[in-house]
């Protein structure tokens, strides 16, 4: 058999083949028994009908196992309906014991075939039994009633019922087993998926933990810096610069932790947070920030480079503040950071760090005595 019936799965093929093999061994055995019986009783017409049935059984078995399951089943259903009707017609009509074969044919087709084919099998059975009564009533043929009971009746009926029961149970059992296997597979798969989901959750927790650890470590470095700063007044500017850089990284990790985006930072939120922290740290006056409210996510490493740059610019401007410092941040196409509100008495140099970071970001830094402008395109960074 090449393909399973519609409601079975490929894994069932072996079991279905086994059921059909056994079923089609029991059926010829029954037909042979009946054939010999009628031959002995001298009912040659009946014996001939059974011989045809026997031959057909072998043919159907070959077709079934050859892969033409649907056609073979339909053919078998039609043929055995006709055969049963013929046997009953030649026998005791509606009172013939062969009528137990009708429910078996219907049961077999109901399990293995679909609705339409089941309707076909039922219709044929109904036509068959109606024919038996109608033909008798209108005396279309002569029925020779043989009402005497003999022990062969028991064997024939028992055999038919056992075949029917075996086929029905086995075919249903295959479906039920497939159902059970699928259920068990679902349950295993669910457990595995739950496990994986748990691991995903764990990974997210670890990512959070990394950010938390990074923040703690940076706090520790800040403490170390402030501890050393107390004993090295001549390096105050260097320590201050170092503090700003650590502050940028710390802020980046705090935002990454709170927003639960492990790698991306929203540039406006980052800028605002940085400025706030700078204000707090330096106890400087409030810095006004104007943004275009266009959210822009950038990679955390780029954001950190950007953060170091702008904090350096703010720090430079802060020393020459002329009233309130003002930041304009535009993020629509590229990132444009404009700082004003100060007046410098001397030309401000770029500085080696700023130069390096600007190059890394592939940005442009313009410094005048009253305004700093820093632009870069995140994609290019």
């Amino acid at each position: 058999m090449k393909t399973p019936p519609k409601n079975y799965v490929s894994g069932d093929l072996e079991s279905i083949t086994f059921v059909i093999k056994v079923g089609f061994l029991l059926l010829p055995a029954l037909l042979s028994f009946m054939f010999v019986l009628f031959l002995f009783q001298g009912e040659y017409t009946m014996a001939l009908v059974l011989a045809i049935g026997l031959l057909f059984t072998f043919y159907a078995r070959k077709r079934l196992l050859g892969g033409n399951l649907h056609k073979a089943v339909i053919l078998t259903v039609v043929f055995f309906n006709v055969l049963l009707t013929l046997i009953c017609t030649l026998g005791n009509g509606i009172n013939d014991i062969a009528i137990v074969g009708y429910p078996i044919i219907i049961g077999f087709s109901g399990i293995i075939l679909d609705q339409k084919k089941l309707a076909l099998a039922t219709s044929l059975s109904l036509i068959g039994v109606t024919w038996l009564v109608v033909s008798e009533h209108f005396q279309i043929h002569n029925i020779t009633y043989v009402y005497e009971t003999n022990s062969s009746d028991f064997f024939i009926i028992s055999f038919m019922i056992v075949i029917g029961g075996f086929v029905a149970f086995s075919l249903m059992n295959i479906m039920k087993n497939a159902l059970a296997n699928a259920q068990s597979e679902i349950s295993i798969s669910k457990n595995e998926a739950d496990n994986l989901a748990e691991q995903v959750g764990e990974k997210l927790e670890i990512i959070e933990e990394i950010h938390r650890t990074a923040i703690n470590s940076l706090t520790h470095i800040q403490q170390l810096i402030s501890y050393q700063r107390k004993s090295s007044h001549h390096l105050a500017a260097t320590y201050s610069s170092l503090t700003r850089k650590v502050l940028v990284i710390e802020t980046a990790h705090q935002i990454l932790l709170s927003t639960q985006t492990p790698m991306m930072l929203e540039i406006q939120a980052f800028t605002i947070e940085l400025v706030k922290k700078y204000e707090r740290k330096k106890e400087t006056q409030a810095i006004q920030i104007n943004t275009d409210q266009v959210p822009l996510m950038i990679r955390s490493d780029i954001a950190i480079n950007y953060g170091i740059c702008i904090l350096e610019l703010i720090h430079e401007a802060d020393g020459n503040a002329n009233g309130e410092l003002c930041i304009d941040l535009m993020t629509e196409s590229a990132v444009l950071f404009k700082l004003s509100g100060f007046v410098s008495t001397k030309t401000i140099e770029q500085g080696i760090v700023m130069d390096l970071l600007t190059k890394q970001l592939k940005g442009v830094l313009t410094k005048s005595t009253q305004e700093f402008t820093f632009t870069f395109t995140p994609e290019a960074g």
Partner: protein
Amino acid sequence: MKLDWQAYKISDHYAKKEVANQLQLFLYVIPVIAIILALVNLILGLTEIALATLMVPFFCGISLVALKKGYINTSMILIVSIMMVSTSIICILGSRIHEVGIIIFPVIVIFSGLVMNFRGVVITTSVVLFCIALIVFGDLWSFFPESEIKESKWLELAVVISVIIIHTFITYSFSRITRRNLSKIQDELKNQRRYKNEIAENLSEKTELLRLVHHRVKNNLLLVNSLIELESYGQPQVKNELKEITESIHAIARAHDPLYHTDDYKQVAIRPYLEKLINNFIQKNQVKSLNIEIEDCLIFHAKALHLGIIIQRILSCMQNLPLMELSVRLRKSSNQIHLDIYNQSENEFALKDTPSIKLLINESEGKVEIDERKVAISLLLFSEIVG
């Protein structure tokens, strides 16, 4: 207590509710047909057969009550039993094995094949075969009195047609329940597999992300060191003063190096990590001899990082000491790590920053014993140790 006969227990894979609904439907239909047939038999003067047929609606009623109370197995046993008994009686009272009622026996067996387990089917089939044997051999050996039955072929046709139609519906309905469930469960299985694959993909993404996050943290910290390096370029004194800070940053950055992490990035292999830190230290300091005995074990990242910072601070206190004979020993007990750092040379080993080191160790739920004269430090650390 529910009367469940194990032999008749419906297969667990079967949808019991759906089976119960179908059974209920048939328990309404079968009595109606039985009453009609009983009436017809009564009209035809077949009183005994009519009475036997009337047993069916009565027991169907009891079966229905059992079903409504949730005793599905009891209900099924009742219906199967009454069908077998009434069919046998009707056949015995009628034309015996040639009675059309015989058609009900295969229906009963096929019904059991659809809804019952193996034992249930075997028991049902055996009882049916016994009933047939009773009818055949009882007739053969004249156990039953002769019956003179008025035959009505049209009534027999009605009986056979009713049985065939009911049987078709029974077969179709019950096999459909399993088919539908199978189809549903196969869809569910497909979805479940897809979901699992998606989660597995998500997990591998998260693992990669984890590696990247560690990598970024390390890079960000090393960036600070690089910028310090740049700013202090050509100023060796400044560089020297910032050395402790840069080395602390270095120790923290190294703890984030995915190179020292386990595959799940939860734990750090402590031996290569600490060896790297110590080697880094001896490259920049005068060390006469070095003895490192670090046990191979894994500890959680946060703790490893803390340990790295502590060792870095202790080593920083030792820098610039001439001709050190350094010995670092780390071993793991059940839930603690013991770290000993010795300077076996005669040079004075005074920790200039003892309070901050003590503070760091206290933060790590550890203990410290610092003996300045003998230059031996013993650290008892950590409650979370794996590996």
